[in-house]
Structure formats: structure tokens, C-alpha cells
Symmetry: C2
Subunit: 356 residues, 2 copies
């Protein structure tokens, strides 16, 4: 039976990425060798890394604008640490917007380095909205925000105008919608939503902003060293980077971000319309902040849980359970999830309604 | 044509690991989902992680001895940083043995944390031997060494007896030979030699030694947090961990470390015998310190280079070029390289001799 994978991450990737990457494990580029056994310094893999870095700049519209692209390891959580290492001056100060669990974790790491001002937080409302009225202190070394909150189903629809360098954790919505990406000093994202499998982290940096903190950095924390090493200061995560390249190539064929954005908008519109229409369900996030990537919703009457769960499981849907901090359901509709899968989910919601 | 892959890492893995992991990308455990798209919190992946951790302890003979196993990200270079974070006390001191480039890199990171004594170094001899007469200061918080030096083809055949906790970077020879692994406080290894593809790092820790430095640790640097999170404090490198499990399962079928050690010894004996016998070649490492994993050797007369390179390339051999710091050739004979491949290399060396 066809599966409809709503996993919040790692998550569904395009079918052709599965097929091409499986083939490369058996024989990469008709070399007679597996992608798993070649040197990262081989001509074939250097070409993979270079194409992946160039494609990221092309897809984000950042070519020729002074940005460098890195593929690192450790996930976004490692960037929570690298960000203050590289951007918070000795005796400096950072500003953070607290919109969810991951933002809170990023704040915790920054606090180890120096003064960390939380400019606004929606914690008291269990992060069900994005705070909008706040001031970013002009003297901050940087301002950090999280564009999409996977757990709580919220998404920043706009970003503040500020002269402070803006750093954004885009782990769960990068490559999903058009933005002026040049408003950011640094963008980072764990690969495992819209870019590839788990195991690599994308970092996009405005290079001229680096090297200004007065700190001595450990090698593995130093973005400048990683840039100089072209993401190969040490052995990179070869396979995750290769599978990410395949996913980026697929995205380009969909018309890039502009192309996929239309499909993502259609998927989100379809599901949220049903959540709002169907008397059995309700959304948990503030309507104006609803994420196009992760829709969080509840059954108004928990008594229907068993029946609904049986229905969507029977339809081949997986990964729909909500995070324990919110409960209910979370439908993650990343780039590779087809509109058809959302229609199947909507059908089961209507089936539940009819059956009661 | 059959390839004989002598790459220094990432390197050859067992053919069945390629086949099984390619299959899991198309359909993992007959779930209808790819290993690349499942949640790391899914039952199926938790089982992978648990089996991998248990198998490491079993293969190393460390079951029930107070050790914890982690699969982290960042490669051994990230452990160069995590080690002083977790083991060097505030105002403490570390002792390091300098046997190669990677040892030197580890030393550089430790120096950022506090007094770092290099107890001995073979740097002046371009690291062509392992220093043996040195004293580990009794007051050191730990002693760090590198068991095998990939670039220079040397290997520690024995380890010092000391009451100081011993930490060993075993990236390039773990799982290749029998040792009393319980003499180490901490063992770490980038996966991409004997354990799996690039993208995950194995860390094996004597747990009772942690938490004694007086330092406040960033979350991603904190071994105790990673232990508590069972290697899933954040999303792990799912596919590299899975392919590592497959490689560990393969190793167990070879009779574990004791089984593979015999084959590794036969491979090394065959190649070193030819290096010593053949008048055209010479080894670069001190004979008593020769690595069973990486054999480094030169053509006595560089004029034969073109001819020899053509011969081994024609035989299907790849990855034989030496590292730029040593030159000549490096034959990396990791666990998955069959004895047959070494025989092919020896044949080309003899062919060269006959042709001159």
C-alpha cells in the first residue's frame, strides 16, 4: 500500500532521491565504487560538494552577494553553539526571539557566552503564536530567530527590519517559500526536512561579518576555518551531502523555491480549510502564524481518538502523532509530500465526521 | 573490472553492507518507507541504535564494565574538542603523545583549555616512529594518544601502564585487532575506516569518569547529556549509524575482532614482505611500529613512478597514492579489504621488478 509519510523530520524525500542514492551506493557515477567507499578528496566527491554549494546559492538567490555555503555536522543544535562562538563579541551581547523549544535551546547555549537578551517570548502561551512587537537592541552583536517552529506549528511570516545582523534557524522551512534571503547574516538548517537525510547541516554565511569577536575559536567551531576548508576541514558526511545534492537538483526541476512554494501553499490551504470546516477538529496555532510546513491540530473530543487513529492508519498515513508538548496531531507537509497525500488525510477527517 | 579500493578513508566496506543499505533506502524493514525518511524516534530506528551500541560493547569485550557507547557527529576532530571539555579540569593539565598530524591537531584544541604537556613527539623524524620512552605526569587529568597514524603508517603496538585516565583516538584501527580495551577511559573513532561510512563518530566512555572537571559544558559538548539522550540528544546521523550497524554485524560474522585480526595480519605480512624483498621499494615507517592498516612505502628510484602507476591502475587498484606529507604510496588495508586485493598489489610490484 502507498504510504503517506507525515513525519516531522527526518521526513519524506522525493522518490527519485531514494532511487538515485540507492544506485550510488551500489555504483557511484559508473566508477565501480560505492559512494560510501570513495575518498571525500576524490574528484567525483569534490564535484558533488561544489555543485551542492553552488545550487544552494542559486536556489536562495544569493549568488554574487558575498555568501558562503557550508555543509557541516552536528545538526542545528551544534549551530546553537557555533553562532555565539562566531558572532558574540567578548563582553558583547546577543538578542534572541523565543518562539519554541528549539529557540529556547539556542538561547541556553548563547547564555554560556555572555549577555543574552530575550526580546520577546510566547512561552506563556505554549508557543502558539509568534511575538510581533519587540525591540532589538541596537548594540546587540546579532539577533537570532527561528523561522518555523516544528513542534508548535507556527511560522514567522515576516522578519524585523534591523541593522543588527540577523541569524535565522530555518531547519524546518528552508527551501519551502520565497524570502529575501539577503536580509540574513547567517542562515542554518539541519538537512533532514526539505534538504536531505539526517547527518548534515547547511550553513549560509555573509562572509564579511566573520572574525570580529576577539575570541580564539576551537577549529571545529570556526566558520572561517570551515570556509577555508571548503566544508572539508575534516571528513564531511559524504552520503548525507550527496543525498542533499540530489534533493536540491529535484527542487530545481520543480521550478525552485517559487515552484514548490505554490504546491506548499495549496497543501496547507487544503488541510487548514478542513481543520477549520470540520466540527470535530481545531487548530492549535494562532491563525495568522500558521506554518505551511507543520499543521498542529486536535480532536475537540478526545473520545474520537481511537477511531480517527484507526482511520488514518488504514489509509497508509504515518507520522501524524503530535509532539508531546502539544498533543493531538501534527501533519508535516514538507516539500516532498505530494498534494495527494494531504487529500488522503482530509478524506479520513471527513470520513470520521460522517461516521459519528 | 573488479576494483581494489585502497582509499585511506572513507574506504572500502563489505559488499553486503552496500547491498543491504541500498535496499534499506528503497524499503527499510519492509515498512514501505526508506531509512532516509523515517523518524529517529521510530521504533525501528531506536532498535538500530540500541543494537549498534550493544554490538560495540560486545565486540570490544566491554560488556558490564561501566562503559557507555555514543554515536555522535563531527568526526574525530570534534572529539579533539569534546575531550578537553569533558576531561580537563579547570586549572588542570593534560598529557598528549604526538605521533602524527591528527595527534598534533588534538593537542592544538587542548591548549585552548589549559596546560597541555606533550610527553613525547616524533615530529622531528616526520612521525616515522612511535616514541616509547616517556613519562606521563601523575597529576595529569588524562593522557591522550593516537593508536594508528593513517598518514605515516605507524601504529602503537602497546600502551603505557598509568593511573592517569587514558584516552585514545582509534579512528583508523578500531575493530582491527585484539586489545584490552578496558585500559582506556575513553575511545573514539570516526566511523569511516573499519566501522562504516563517513558521518558518525563512535565514542566509548567509562561513565564514572565524567562530570569531574568543574566546567559548565555547552549541551552538544557534554558526554553526560549525550549518554542521557542515548545518542539522540538531537537528531543523529540516521543512515551512517545504520550502515555502521550493518558493518558491525558483518564483523561479528567474521568471528569478531579475533577473526578479522588474523586476516589483517596475513594481509600486512604479505605486503610488508614484498616491500622488504623487492629491491625497487622501501618502507617509510620504523619496522617495529609498522601499521597493519596503512602501509607507507616509496619507489627507491622515482623514475619508475609512471610505469608503476600505470601497472596498478591497470590492475583495478585505486586510492594508492601517498599523503602529500610522506609522498610515495599508501596501501590502506582496512577490515573489508580482501587478502586477494593485497595479492593483486604484490603482483604489480613484482611485475614492475620483472619489467625493469
Amino acid at each position: 500500500m502507498k504510504k503517506h509519510n507525515y513525519s516531522a523530520g527526518p521526513c519524506i524525500l522525493p522518490q527519485e532521491v531514494f532511487e538515485q542514492s540507492a544506485q550510488a551506493i551500489l555504483d557511484f557515477n559508473q566508477s565501480g565504487l560505492s559512494i560510501l567507499e570513495i575518498s571525500h578528496r576524490s574528484k567525483d566527491f569534490i564535484a558533488v560538494m561544489e555543485e551542492a554549494r553552488a545550487l544552494v546559492l542559486e536556489l536562495l538567490g544569493l549568488e554574487g552577494k558575498g555568501y558562503q555555503v557550508l555543509f557541516l555536522q552536528g545538526g542545528a543544535s551544534m549551530e546553537f553553539l557555533r553562532v555565539p562562538y562566531n558572532f558574540m563579541k567578548v563582553d558583547g551581547k546577543a538578542a534572541y526571539l523565543e518562539t519554541g523549544t528549539w529557540a529556547a535551546n539556542a538561547i541556553k547555549e548563547a547564555q554560556l557566552f555572555g549577555e543574552t537578551e530575550v526580546v520577546a517570548s510566547s512561552k506563556a502561551a505554549n508557543f502558539n503564536y509568534i511575538p510581533k512587537d519587540y525591540t532589538i537592541p541596537a548594540e546587540a552583536d546579532y539577533f537570532h530567530c527561528t523561522s518555523n517552529n516544528t513542534i508548535f506549528g507556527t511560522q514567522m511570516k515576516s522578519f524585523p527590519k534591523t541593522d543588527v545582523p540577523m541569524i535565522c534557524d530555518m531547519s524546518s522551512d528552508i527551501f519551502s517559500r520565497s524570502l529575501d534571503f539577503s536580509q540574513f547574516a547567517l542562515i542554518y538548517a539541519g538537512a533532514q526536512k526539505n534538504m536531505g537525510p539526517a547527518g548534515t547541516t547547511l550553513v549560509v554565511i555573509k562572509e564579511e561579518l566573520l572574525g570580529k569577536t576577539g575570541r580564539t575559536l576551537p577549529s571545529m567551531m570556526d566558520y572561517q576555518k570551515q570556509i577555508k576548508g571548503e566544508s572539508m576541514y575534516n571528513t564531511p558526511a559524504v552520503f548525507p551531502v550527496y543525498a542533499s545534492l540530489l534533493t536540491l537538483q529535484w527542487l530545481k526541476k520543480q521550478g525552485g523555491i517559487a515552484g514548490i512554494e505554490k504546491i506548499n501553499a495549496a497543501k496547507a490551504a487544503l488541510l487548514y480549510a478542513e481543520i477549520d470546516r470540520n466540527p470535530l477538529f481545531e487548530g492549535t496555532a494562532a491563525i495568522e502564524d500558521r506554518s505551511t510546513m507543520n499543521a498542529t491540530f486536535l480532536l475537540k473530543d478526545p473520545a474520537h481518538t481511537e477511531k480517527f487513529d484507526a482511520l488514518w492508519k488504514a489509509a497508509g498515513i504515518s507520522g501524524l502523532n503530535g509532539h508531546r508538548s502539544v498533543g493531538g496531531y501534527r501533519a508535516s507537509m514538507y516539500n516532498a509530500l505530494p498534494l495527494e497525500s494531504v487529500q488522503i488525510l482530509v478524506n479520513t477527517m471527513q470520513e470520521l465526521e460522517r461516521s459519528i
